[in-house]
């Protein structure tokens, strides 16, 4: 049972002496399915230090010996222009932990040459190889047949035919890995020309030897356009460019940057001669595909599909979320009665810990469902088509077509939306999407909109204008987000963007096991990595609202809030919110809702000393009756249409969600959580002030 416990906590530390096998290959070659097949449930997911790439590793048991399998992100080549792409090279060279004993390179049978190109690059780094040719059945159905024995003897490494889907060939691969660990075999590559040797020697001379770059790494620096491996040396840009230009003068045969590609492909063309026989011409794209990728019809289908998905997420998750909330309410009652004699502990357990744990768990149903639909879209190959259709809409501001799904799911809740950004390979587009996703009008904003519109817009202007206002506030987030993305992309984020080049994988039926496994891993990951922070934040906020204990009337919640640290802070910074038209009560409400924006409704209820907290009509009346107690506007109502609109704009743009901040910090780093918080709060304040002043000016 020991192992199972570790498996749940995800800390099943592999044996220190365990050999490491690296799984690498082109995207869409069934790598993940193969990884799941090899390691079963003995997996753990982490992050590579300092970058946003998830580090997946698992344990493979080979006749009683445990081997660590590392699943590298899908890649077409080892050329790395960003730290995120460099990770494959670093793992293969042993710069990130132990040097791998063996690399298993997966490739699609139908596109053997492309897969082998990557294999050549790995072999050039000096790592022993096993080639796993996947989707044999698919290629054979297309009329192709293969002589893998011939390929194996020509390249000098074992070639295993697998079908990760059915599990065919996996045992064979396991045996080959075991044999490969005992007796590693290197792929035969033609030796590099004298020109390459001269250029490498030149670079090795020029680069100080204390950086310990190996010859094969120096070749990568030489061949790649702007290799991130050069970061190890840390020269300024101009010096790098000058050094490379001088080294590349040795490569006179063709363009220096095409040298590697030309050499490998020349080798592969001869190695593949006679290996593949193709009886039939390639098939035309099916009618369904033509419909799904049609510029107009395809978009409509996609819109309908996404609508259904979110309808499903919303309607399927709501009962589960209600049940979780109900369960925690029930627990709070039990513990509340039990801890009656200790009011501080009662409050800590009920309002702090249970509310916090409930606040974490309540997201789980949505995250499970979102991961389910996203895995379906990815595994069927539809995600790539959707990205193709949506790219133009997002491309202009540095995002790409894949940003669409995370942004749309942020309309339900930003937390699953942030997790959905993992489908974006381009680190820059992913970061941008994470930065703007919290601006989408999530469902927690709805109670605020409904309260304000119901109290101040609907009674005066009628239901049509009220509905339009509600719609406008849902659009506002996106309308602000895209220009923000453009500005951040243009002037702030200095990460090079990946070119948007996507392969359209053939339509495939997803493997249910893989889909469910990914759903489970996503949920587990959320609990492990974000849960703790969300819990800690809820307890801190609870403490800020409960201390110091008010001495006068302990039972009056409004007095307690007013005299708590947060209440005192609200009173102190009220002048900051005066230009937006807020009095101190509203300011406390705004501050108290920083951990979760929907809290404003209940906080306002408590502050306005109402009995039933969420009794909206009476809260609306209380708010309408509220007058300025002092100051220049003394005696005038606090709430006007201008105040209501300014409050709604503030809530539309503000980062009032501790959970989102926690997930942002876990996904891309603490720095970006701070950036998101600062820019959104600043934007919200400016928006609120502009709205209040603008509307007031227009009205008088």
């Amino acid at each position: 049972m020991n192992k199972r416990a570790g498996w749940w906590r995800g800390h099943a530390k592999a044996d220190v002496s365990a050999k490491r096998v690296v799984l690498i290959g082109n995207p869409n070659t069934g790598k993940t399915t193969l990884f799941n097949r090899l390691t079963g449930s003995r997996q753990r997911v982490g992050n590579y230090p300092g970058i946003t790439v998830a580090r997946k590793s698992g344990e493979l048991r080979l006749g009683g010996v445990s081997v660590e399998v590392v699943d590298l992100p899908g890649a077409y080549s080892l050329a790395a222009s960003s730290p995120d792409e460099r990770i494959a090279c670093d793992v293969l060279m042993g710069r990130s932990g132990e040097t791998p004993a063996l690399a298993v390179c997966t490739m699609e049978a139908a596109h053997l040459q492309r897969g082998l190109f990557l294999a050549c690059q790995i072999a050039d780094l000096g790592v022993p190889l096993i080639l796993a040719v996947n989707f044999m059945d698919e290629a054979m159905a297309r009329g192709m047949s293969f002589d893998l024995g011939l390929l194996s003897s020509r390249l000098g490494v074992p070639v295993v035919a697998t079908s990760a889907r059915s599990g065919h060939g996996v045992d064979d691969l396991r045996a080959t890995i075991q044999a490969g660990l005992d007796e590693p075999r290197h792929m035969t590559l033609p030796s590099w020309s004298d020109a390459v040797h001269d250029a490498t020697k030149f670079l090795a001379r020029e680069i100080p030897s204390n950086h310990r770059l190996r010859e094969s790494e120096i070749r990568r620096i030489l061949f790649d356009h702007d290799s991130a491996l050069f970061d190890v040396v840390g020269y300024p840009k101009a010096q790098r460019a000058d050094l490379l230009a001088r080294a590349r003068t040795y490569l006179t045969d063709g363009h220096p940057l095409a040298h590697e590609s030309a050499a490998h492909h020349k080798h592969l063309t001869s190695a593949l001669d006679g290996v593949i026989t193709c009886q039939r011409p390639p098939t035309q794209p099916s009618r369904v595909d033509r419909l799904l990728t049609h510029p107009v019809v395809g978009l409509i289908i996609f819109a309908v599909f996404m609508f259904l998905v979110f309808q499903a997420i919303y309607s399927l998750a709501t009962p589960a979320m209600d049940a979780i909330e109900g369960g925690f309410g029930w627990l709070a009652e039990i513990f509340g009665a039990w801890l009656e004699p200790l009011p501080v502990f009662q409050s800590l357990v009920c309002d702090g810990i249970l509310a916090g744990v409930g606040g974490v768990l309540v997201f789980l149903p949505q995250i499970f469902l979102l991961f389910f639909f996203v895995s379906l879209m990815e595994d069927t190959g539809y995600m790539a088509r959707a990205a193709f259709l949506m790219d133009k809409l997002f491309g202009w501001c540095g995002l790409n077509g894949k940003s669409f799904v995370p942004l749309l799911s942020s309309y339900a809740c930003a937390i699953p939306g942030l997790y959905a950004t993992r489908t974006i390979e381009d680190p820059k587009a992913r970061l941008l999407t994470i930065l703007i996703a919290p601006l989408m009008s999530c469902s927690a904003r709805l109670p605020v909109y409904l309260l304000m519109i119901g109290a101040f817009v609907a009674p005066v202007y009628g239901p049509t204008i009220a509905a339009l206002t509600l719609f406008a506030f849902h659009i506002l987030g996106l309308a602000v987000a895209l220009p923000v993305a453009w500005i951040v992309n243009r002037w702030i984020l200095k990460i090079p963007s990946h070119p948007f080049v996507l392969e359209m994988p053939p339509y495939r039926c997803p493997v249910p096991r893989d889909v469910l496994w990914r759903v489970w891993l996503g949920g587990r990951d959320f609990l492990q990595r974000a849960g703790g922070i969300i819990l800690a934040l809820s307890i801190i906020i609870w403490a800020l609202l409960s201390f110091p204990k008010s001495e006068m009337t302990g039972s009056e919640p409004a007095v307690q809030i007013e005299n708590s640290y947060l209440g005192l802070a609200g009173k102190a910074i009220q002048p900051l919110f005066a230009p937006a038209g807020y009095d101190w009560k509203l300011t406390i409400g705004v501050l108290a809702s920083f951990p979760a924006r929907e809290v404003i409704v209940s906080t306002l209820g408590i502050i306005y000393r109402l009995e039933g907290d969420e009794d909206l009509p009476s809260l609306a009346e209380a708010m309408r009756a509220e007058k300025w107690a002092s100051g220049p506007r003394r005696g005038q109502p606090v709430f006007t249409v201008a105040t209501a609109l300014s409050l709604m704009v503030f809530f539309a743009l503000c980062m009032q969600c501790a959970s989102t901040l926690a997930v942002t910090a876990r996904e891309v780093g603490f720095r970006y959580a701070v950036i998101t918080f600062v820019y959104m709060t600043a934007l919200a304040w400016m928006g609120a002030v502009l709205t209040f002043q603008g509307v007031t000016a227009l009205w008088s």
Partner: protein
């Protein structure tokens, strides 16, 4: 995007230093059937003849299999003409027009 130099400017992303355009790239003859991949239209097909290697995209395209001699066929555009979908001997690829403008193609009828 008939001018390769403009395509090149478009691609200078992320503050990369531009390599100077090389003579052989500019001089790629536009005679006969030669065109940029981005200019390929409905129902047309061709063979890759060369890439503008000094641009970072071209290495990625080569890794995807767009090497000289690779046959390809235009499939369709997304709405507003961008990105484009191309069928090649190594699968169906979707790429933006400015990325496609680093590939010279010999049209086939």
């Amino acid at each position: 995007m008939t001018n390769p130099e403009r395509g090149a400017d478009d691609l200078l992303m992320g503050g990369r230093e531009p390599d100077s355009l090389r003579e052989e790239d500019i001089a790629a003859p536009v005679r006969g059937r030669r065109c940029l991949l981005s200019e390929l239209g409905r129902g047309e097909s061709g063979v890759v003849c060369s890439l503008l290697h000094h641009l970072p995209v071209s290495q990625r395209l080569m890794a995807l299999g767009l090497i000289p001699g690779c046959r390809l066929r235009f499939l369709r555009n997304a709405l507003w003409g961008d990105p484009m979908m191309v069928e090649t001997t190594c699968g169906v690829i979707c790429l933006r027009r400015r990325e496609a403008s680093v590939v010279w193609v010999d049209r086939e009828s």
